[in-house]
């Protein structure tokens, strides 16, 4: 039995299954949490009727979405139209694999874990494109066009900040990066505050969260790329959005906050606490700020984040060269 468990292939399968459960559960919790947070900010109770304090509301919503008729618009490219939502959630468990919740609780320790996450989370934009194209809807098409420019632009600062950390730790292995930062004073957050801020901004934009939710900007494009999706088609997009939020926050926790490290009793719970704290901050942003305009969004990236990121990278490289 132990021999079987020691087999990396078996471990991988177990990890994937566990991650699927984690993904589903967290999706439900996040939907509930977002609605509660917005409710409290707006001085409403949020969902309240289904289950105690509306805890079962996301489950009821999921059931509703599953039960709804799936409508394909006339003139839509049917296979592409339905491929898109599937494509947007499919890479999610893969992206979770290299994130270490503790040295032991890691789906799969990879030497290039960071690259894997970035590579597969980049597929989401492809899903948005296909959704926009396949819907045969002008709003969706505009949303897709926005999604493309936004995600291509913001991937650069994201990579630049990740590179800074990689320079510092000399590794792309998330476990190693986290291991380097034991003790709250050794967190990369204190060494690279600018990189952290830029990472967080770019992450918000990459996950299409307000104030950077241009691809779905409901006051301009009704619902952008998922205008035409009904039922679970829309549900999958929403699930994917929340999942990418968790992934990117998990990455931020590992890269900048020492992963499972904490002031007392280090362990996976610290990871969860950090992820949820950052998610709460993202929700806080969303329910406070107006949406930026599209050219402003790109200006922020090309005129501020990328030069700053490059400068930061250069400075990091110089210091590493001088010190190391």
């Amino acid at each position: 039995m132990t021999a079987l468990l020691a087999n990396p292939l078996v471990q991988l399968v177990i990890a994937l299954l566990a991650l699927l459960g984690f993904v589903g559960l967290n999706g439900l919790v996040l939907v509930w949490m977002e609605r509660k947070v917005v409710g409290f900010i707006q001085r409403r109770p949020g969902p309240f009727e289904v289950g105690p304090h509306g805890l079962l509301q996301p489950l009821a919503d999921a059931l509703k979405l599953i039960g709804k008729q799936l409508v394909t618009p006339r003139g839509a490219d049917r296979p592409l139209f339905w491929l898109a939502p599937i494509l947007s959630v499919m890479p999610v468990p893969l992206c979770f694999l290299p994130i270490p919740f503790s040295p032991l609780l890691t789906g799969m320790e990879l030497n290039v874990g960071v690259v894997l996450i970035l590579a597969f989370s980049g597929l989401n934009v492809l899903a948005l494109c296909l959704a926009g194209w396949g819907s045969n809807n002008k709003y969706s098409l505009l949303g897709a066009a926005r999604a493309v420019s936004q995600s291509v632009a913001y991937e650069i600062p994201l990579l630049l900040t990740v590179l800074c950390i990689a320079f510092q730790s000399g590794s792309l292995n998330l476990n190693v990066i986290a291991g380097h930062q034991s003790g709250i004073l050794h967190w990369n957050l204190w060494v690279q505050p600018l990189a952290f801020v830029m990472f967080f901004i770019a992450a918000t934009a990459e996950t299409n969260r307000a104030p950077f939710d241009l691809p779905e900007a409901e006051s301009e494009l009704t619902a952008g790329h998922h205008t035409e999706y009904s039922g679970m088609g829309f549900g999958l997009f929403m699930l994917a959005e929340y999942m990418y939020m968790i992934i990117i926050c998990g990455m931020a926790a590992v890269l900048f906050m020492g992963g499972w490290d904490g002031p007392v009793a280090p362990g996976w719970w610290w990871m969860v606490i950090k992820i949820y704290a950052m998610l709460a901050a993202m929700m806080w942003f969303r329910w406070t700020f107006p949406r930026v305009r599209f050219d402003q969004l790109l200006n922020v990236c090309w005129k501020w984040l990328i030069p700053l990121g490059l400068a930061n990278l250069l400075a990091t490289a110089l210091i590493m060269k001088l010190v190391g």
């Binding site: 030497n111 290039v112 894997l116 970035l118 590579a119 980049g122 492809l126 194209w133 897709a144 420019s149």
Partner: protein, 176 residues
Amino acid sequence: MDADLQQMLALPAYGLYLLIILAGGIMAVGSASLVRALLGLILTLFGVAGMYLLMAAPFLAFMQILIYVGAVSVLIFFAIMLTKGPDGEAGGEEPPKVGGRLVLAGLTGLVPAAILAGAVARFAPQAVPLKPETSLFKLGEFLAGPYVLAFELISVVLFAAMAGAVLLGFERRKGK
């Protein structure tokens, strides 16, 4: 992972990736919609990434996905949306001309394949055992050392391509 299991899994994985590459290729050539052709290309790129994995080069595999699937093909997608086919609609392709396309596609596929097959048959390489993963440091040293000229040349080519694109874009804008 023990070598036996590795050996056992390598072959089906190779077959699977090959199938993905071929399917993607056929899809890219055969579909009338440019977007679907692009999807075929992406599928092929995935298959190639898998091949990299098989060769114990996960870094290259993920880079392939990150750059080619995540960025390049998305940009191609953008280009498709901006251009128009002969029917005035974006994303359409010229209707096939009396099956000529199939012949051409077959030729472009088969001729290099035949050449390569001949070369492989003639100078059959010795099967080498799978090397352990090349470390990133090694990779970096090679790029910054012996291959620095090639590396720089590639970036010059990319720069030229970018400058050309910008130039074209401005020309078009002026023409309006």
